[in-house]
Amino acid sequence: MSAGLVLILVASAALFAVGAFALVVRRSAVVMLLGTQFMFMAGGIAFVAFARFGLGALHATAGAAVALFAGATAVAELAIGLAMAVLIYREQRNFGVDAERG
């Protein structure tokens, strides 16, 4: 029993799939934002995994640096997205991006 690149990448792909599911299926602005956060996190995990186990291990700090950038970008995206969600809520009194489904 071991934990290597494949295991981390499978988990990263599952996390990305959960985020894509939230983005495509759900119509709540908050849940869609959480979905994009999960996709960002999945990308960061894949970078770190390649830096730890894959060919990128020769430059291990590069993977961590990219994951750091991805996390900061995700937080910035969350800030602007939540401001948009607040505006949607002020207009419609719910977080639905579709007027019909909500």
């Binding site: 071991s2 959960v18 908050v30 020769l58 900061a72 995206e77 939540l82 977080f95």
Partner: protein
């Protein structure tokens, strides 16, 4: 001389492998719960839990600095933003309890106990020292040398996001929310006469 060095071996230590499996399963499960839960507060809680689990995953496979950033900065900022959203949308502006009520005193005591415990843990484990001393020596050289353009772009991006979010939140509220009125057919008087 080989062009590419030998690849690092997978982690084989049984406790660490079990820990990684557990963290990955809980991470995907909490992410799924965050997406599927209808209650916004529970969804935010599940999201924060998955962020903490990502930090724990980084603790096992990444430099300690990334774990600290993920746990202390990204998780805290994300949870704070989401709770700010809840506060804005549910009008939790002020508490109806007095400042010296029993609930506030109990909450302050619990908070003080938790902070004291955190202080003890930090003091015992030398977290700040570990954070600054466990960073690989070429990490900051990599960040500020190879990724200087990315760093500048990131600074502009974060500043733009903060400015945009501030501008949007400071917009004046546009009156009453839009309501959909039920369609009522117009009644016409019998005989087509004119009403007074």
């Amino acid at each position: 001389m080989p062009l590419i060095g030998a690849l690092p071996q997978p982690i084989t230590s049984a406790p660490v492998v079990l820990f990684i499996y557990l963290v990955l399963i809980l991470m995907v499960g909490s992410a799924l719960a965050s997406v599927l839960l209808r209650n916004t507060l529970y969804a935010i809680g599940a999201f924060s839990a998955s962020m903490v689990l990502v930090a724990l995953l980084y603790l096992t496979i990444a430099p300690f600095l990334l774990f600290a950033f993920q746990l202390l900065v990204f998780t805290t900022v994300s949870a704070g933003l989401l709770l700010g959203l809840l506060r804005e949308t549910t009008r939790l502006k002020s508490s109806s309890l007095g400042p010296l009520s029993r609930e506030w005193i109990i909450g302050a005591a619990v908070s003080a106990a938790v902070l004291a415990l955190l202080e003890v843990i930090i003091g015992v484990t030398y977290w700040p020292v570990r954070i600054c001393c466990s960073v690989p020596p070429d990490f900051w050289a990599t960040v500020t040398g190879a990724y200087v353009v990315g760093l500048a772009v990131l600074a502009v991006l974060v500043a733009s996001a903060a400015l945009g979010a501030g501008l949007m939140l400071s917009m004046p509220r546009g009156g009453q929310p839009r309501r959909v009125e039920p369609h009522v057919p117009e009644r016409r008087p019998r005989g087509g006469g004119r009403q007074p």
